[in-house]
Every structure is written in structure tokens, then in C-alpha cells.
Amino acid sequence: MCLAIPMTITRFEGNYAIATANGVETTVNYAMMPDLKENDKVLVHAGFVIEKLDEEQAREIEETWKEYYEVMEKEEKKNMPV
């Protein structure tokens, strides 16, 4: 029930916004996230924008996990029997 879909805001119509994902367009309520603008990436749950996606954080997280993998890989090699 807490499923939410990442979508992109394409335009505004009155009190609603139009969002798209994979070619599907839908009308969304954005009362919970009033400072939206066109091209914002958002999370939509039951027809409501519940949050804006922070793409900077996405890049940072990916970078952190890349480093994590490199460290763990080195550790693994170090622990391998010679």
C-alpha cells in the first residue's frame, strides 16, 4: 500500500500538475510539495506527490557504494589464502 512511483513533472494545470513516467501521463495533486517546478523528479503515491527526488543524493549514494565495493574487494583479496 505504500508503493510509490518516480515520475517527472511536465506541466501545471490549475491546482494540479501533470506527471509522466515511461510514457504514461497522469494528473497529480501536489499540496504536500507546493514548491514544484517543471522537470522536477518526484515520487507519486495514490495520485499525490509525496516527495521530490534529490538527484545529487542519488549520485552521492552511488559514489559511496562504489568506494565501499572497492574497499571490500581489496579486503577480500588480502584475506585470500596464498
Binding site: 510509490a4 495514490a46 499525490f48
Partner: protein, 355 residues
């Protein structure tokens, strides 16, 4: 996340050698389903167990709520609007699907605002929306009431069974019936409430938790992160879903919830009545509160004697340990809600578990 990196992290998880056995609980029903669906559960290293928690709103809704909804609908001959997940859930004596087959006017909606529109389009009929859900859904239900008020729609009301998740997690820790080393914390509940409200798990009970999302990459990194916290004995709540979850959550949504609802106690299937774990409509909006608007006396609550959904939701058993699972209880003929909801642990095991 980059596909190659996800593959590498999946290998890391699969080959991880644990220092000791670990038992982690996923609180959220959407996580329950996604762990199976993505195959991430199959990557768990030896010694790591996943316990399903009370995070499926449909599953934790007690029979009494559906009994009341059906009684109101019968007594007042009104339109019931509901999310699709609720339609096949057994009540004490019936279900919405059975009632619909016998002529009750039940409409499945995608959004609470669809129920407001239904009321607008049917001015001669009363429309009651069955408001079931956690913090993720509560603001949209509050907005539906505000929208009805704004448009002067008087034939719309909401039957609230909205629940707040942190008190249920705290109740499980306090009950101490099952050993839980750490928690995978719901991503979209946290989008609304933020990371901070989960700090009590670490500060008060000395257990770590990780907030994560729902893609395979999120599940893998969430579990790796939780294993690391447990093995380093770091008692903290880490946010691995920062793309969506902020420290204080969505403050606009929080204000909307506070405007329409008061916090109250609520009954959870299997857990019982928990103070501060529910939402009731404020007095100011009582004309939109179906419970006040349509007084009704439902029949005494009856539980199916063999159904162990309650034990399952407390993490005491896994679905195959229930004697009804995959025998009497199947998705086509569900005895308990955990088999009905797509996010219920029984439904997930039925679909994906290797027998």
C-alpha cells in the same frame, strides 16, 4: 544505480561471511514483497534471517473495522469507496467482495480524491471512503477531507483506520517475544515522517536500523549497511534512501496530517491496542467522520480459529508454519488478510517461496 555496481554488490552480499547469526526485521509490507520479487532474499548469506514485521496496512487492520464498514454500508445504503487491496479481505462474517456480489455499492478507487469526485458526481448518495494506511497515505486522506470542505461537498466522509508505525515497532521490541537484531525501516513512511522519529530504536533499545528504498539496489545496500552496523556494534539509524527521505520528513505533509487528524490509540491485528498508534478525525471535521455520521452496531467480532496472521505479524512464525498456509488458505480462498494483500507475507511466500 549503475547495473554493474548492483551486480557487484549483490555478489558481495551473497558471499558475505557473517561473524554470527543475525535476525533482521523488515517492517514494511512493500519491502516484504520486494525482497521476494527482486530475488534479493535469495542472496542472503548463511546465518542471516529476515523476519516479516507488521508493515502491511491491510494485514494489521482488525476484523472489527471491516465489520463496522459493512454494517454502516448495509444500514445506510451508501456507496463504499476503497483501495483495491481491501476488497477480498475477510471480515468476521463476510468481505467487501461478497457484499458487492450481493448488491452492495462498492467502488474501487486509486486515490482518496477519486472518492471525493464520486461524492460530487452522486449528490443524492452518501460516499464513505475506507481510510486504511500508514503515514504514507494519511496526508492524502487528510487532503481529501480538506478538498471536500473546499468544494462544499457534504456527502463525503471517511472511516478512519489510519495507523502510525513507530509505536508498533516499539511494542514489538518491548514484547520481546522474538529476537530482532536490527531493522530495515520503511522508505515511504519515512518520506513523510523523516529519519528522526526512528532514533528511539537505537537510543532507547540499542538496536540499529537502516531506512531504504524498494529497488533491488536499495534492498541490497540496505541489508549490507545493516550487517555492517550490527557487526561494528553501531547503534544508529542510517538513512540509505536520502534521495527521498529527509531528516524531518515532508514537513508540509506533517502539517496537513496535524490539521485534520488527532493522534489516538488503535487496535492492530495480532498486537492489540497501542496508545498513540492511530489517527482520528478532529472534532472540527466531524461532518467528514463516517463513524460519527453513521452510528452503527456491528456484530461481535469473530476470528477464524486456525488463522495465525496475528502471530505472523508479531514475527513469531513464518507463513509456512501456519497450518492453513497453502492448504485451506490460498490467494483465491484466503482465510486471513496476510494471504489477500499483495504486500502480505503469506501472499509473498505463496507466490515466490520455493516449496
Amino acid at each position: 544505480m549503475n547495473r554493474e555496481l548492483v551486480k557487484k554488490l549483490a555478489e558481495l552480499l551473497k558471499n558475505r561471511k557473517l561473524k554470527k547469526e543475525l535476525r533482521i526485521m523488515e517492517v514494511c509490507g512493500t519491502h516484504t514483497a520486494e525482497f521476494f520479487k527482486t530475488g534479493v532474499k535469495d542472496l542472503f548469506p548463511e546465518g542471516l534471517s529476515l523476519i516479516d514485521g507488521p508493515g502491511c496496512p491491510v494485514c494489521v487492520t482488525p476484523n472489527a473495522f471491516l465489520d463496522l464498514a459493512i454494517t454502516i454500508a448495509r444500514d445506510y445504503n451508501l456507496i463504499v469507496a476503497t483501495f483495491g487491496d481491501m476488497i477480498k479481505v475477510p471480515s468476521s462474517y463476510s468481505s467487501l467482495a461478497k457484499e458487492k456480489a450481493q448488491g452492495m455499492d462498492i467502488r474501487i478507487v486509486y486515490s482518496p480524491l477519486d472518492a471525493v469526485k464520486l461524492a460530487k458526481d452522486n449528490p443524492g448518495r452518501e460516499v464513505v471512503f475506507l481510510s486504511v494506511g500508514f503515514e504514507t497515505t494519511a496526508p492524502s486522506e487528510a487532503i481529501a477531507i480538506l478538498e471536500a470542505e473546499k468544494q462544499g461537498i457534504k456527502n463525503f466522509s471517511l472511516l478512519s483506520c489510519n495507523k502510525l508505525t513507530p509505536p508498533a515497532v516499539e511494542a514489538l521490541i518491548n514484547a520481546d517475544e522474538v529476537k530482532i537484531d536490527g531493522f530495515i525501516i520503511p522508505g515511504h513512511v519515512s518520506a513523510i515522517i523523516g529519519r528522526k522519529p526512528w532514533d528511539f530504536i537505537a537510543d532507547k533499545y540499542g538496536k540499529p536500523g537502516v531506512i531504504t528504498g524498494f529497488e533491488a539496489s536499495d534492498l541490497i545496500t540496505g541489508v549490507l549497511s545493516l550487517i555492517d552496523l550490527l557487526e561494528k556494534d553501531e547503534k544508529t539509524i542510517k538513512n540509505e534512501y536520502r534521495i527521498v527521505v529527509r531528516e524531518n520528513g515532508n514537513e508540509h505533509a506533517g502539517k496537513i496530517i496535524d490539521q485534520v487528524f488527532d493522534v489516538t490509540s488503535s487496535v492492530w491485528r495480532g498486537i492489540g491496542e497501542l496508545p498513540g498508534s492511530g489517527l482520528k478525525i478532529k472534532e472540527q471535521y466531524s461532518q467528514y467522520d463516517a463513524e460519527r455520521k453513521f452510528p452503527a452496531t456491528p456484530p461481535p467480532v469473530k476470528e477464524h480459529p486456525g488463522c495465525r496472521c496475528g502471530d505472523l505479524l508479531r514475527g513469531l512464525i513464518t507463513p509456512p508454519e501456519c497450518p492453513l498456509f497453502d492448504k485451506v488458505c490460498t490467494p483465491e480462498n484466503a482465510v486471513g488478510p496476510c494471504m489477500v494483500s499483495s504486500e502480505g507475507p503469506c501472499s509473498a511466500y505463496y507466490k515466490y517461496w520455493r516449496r
